[in-house]
Symmetry: C2
Subunit: 208 residues, 2 copies
């Protein structure tokens, strides 16, 4: 039997709750149901274990994709935003812990920054394609717009736990609201809908 995966999973869980310094080898061993020594025999050191756990996590993370050629921006961007905000929410603890390690263990953040980096790049490409299609009435920089949507999603995923009253309710609709706000900032016409029923559709979606 090989406890490697159990240890990696336990390490990720303990790290998410207690951070690097709080992730004692004893705690991880207990969480994995394994003798503390097994950790050192398998991974050599606590630092190597945590690094392996982080890498294991980012490798197993599947990201939603945006089409190369936008067809229905509102639908596509909403779905992507919902998938992304859900991803971040499920990992909010570990993301907070990783971010707080920048000063002391910058290498560890390389792994953590991989997912948002790819997501940002995808989103940027999508917005650029939208622009090239001429479906945008406002001038904008794709990078700024992408950073804005990603920031809104990120802030919601990180902060709602701490200050639930600050963010839109219900939380399941938040991603959609951010996506729609962004599209309006860019002046994007709704892909499938007509201009005449645009407002009706929006007010329906925005009211609760």
């Amino acid at each position: 039997m090989n406890y490697r995966d159990a240890i990696l999973t336990a390490a990720a869980g303990v790290f998410a709750q207690h951070g690097f310094r709080g992730s004692t080898t004893r705690r991880i061993a207990d969480a994995a149901g394994v003798n503390e020594i097994t950790i050192f025999r398998q991974f050599g050191s606590k630092e190597a274990l945590i690094r392996a756990a982080m890498q294991h996590l980012t490798e197993s993370a599947g990201l939603a994709t945006l089409p190369e050629i936008p067809a229905d921006p509102e639908r596509e961007l909403t779905e992507w935003s919902e998938s992304f905000i859900q991803h971040l929410r499920l990992r909010s603890s570990i993301i907070r812990k990783s971010m707080s390690e920048i000063e002391e263990r910058p290498e560890m953040c390389e792994f953590a920054s991989d997912v948002p980096r790819r997501a940002s790049n995808d989103l940027c490409l999508y917005l650029t394609a939208l622009k090239r299609q001429g479906r945008v009435t406002e001038k904008f920089e794709p990078k700024s717009a992408a950073a804005m949507l990603m920031g809104a999603i990120f802030g919601d995923a990180m902060g709602r736990e701490m200050m639930p009253d600050v963010y839109p309710q219900p939380k399941e609709k938040a991603a959609q609201m951010y996506a729609q706000l962004l599209l309006r900032a860019l002046g994007v016409e709704n892909g499938t809908g007509k201009a005449t029923n645009k407002q009706t559709k929006r007010s329906k979606q925005l009211s609760h």
Copy 2:
């Protein structure tokens, strides 16, 4: 002589760099140029000291204000955003560390969440006032819009250090870009000009 303030300042600095567990009383004492025992005599315990340091920080934080009655939305919102992003950037380390303590020391986050909570409330009131003035052509929820701008600013302030290539350049213009994108999402006219008649009608029809 009373070393209280020196210790508080040193504690905040050490905490910002090393987090709670990494903030050893020895490190703090060294940073303050003080004997370790003085810390315990002044504050009783490490936890009480860190808590006092956090409180001291949030109390000394001055926030930019938004006018109760919007006059020049683009200028006002840009200036507010710039002031807010600068505030967050100067404190990004300590904010990251505080956020990562939610699981283990939730009381500490009460202090940290005070500033963004007030900022969000101010922004929300401002956007509501804009809406009531009828200078907005799109229907929107102030809370969602506020969360979006705050999130964009927050994400920029937290993430740029880790992934500078993801965010708009130069960083001094970022806040302005986010503010402008938001105003366009709400359909607010540029500068001091008012909305056109047609748009005003539309917004009146759509508002409840």
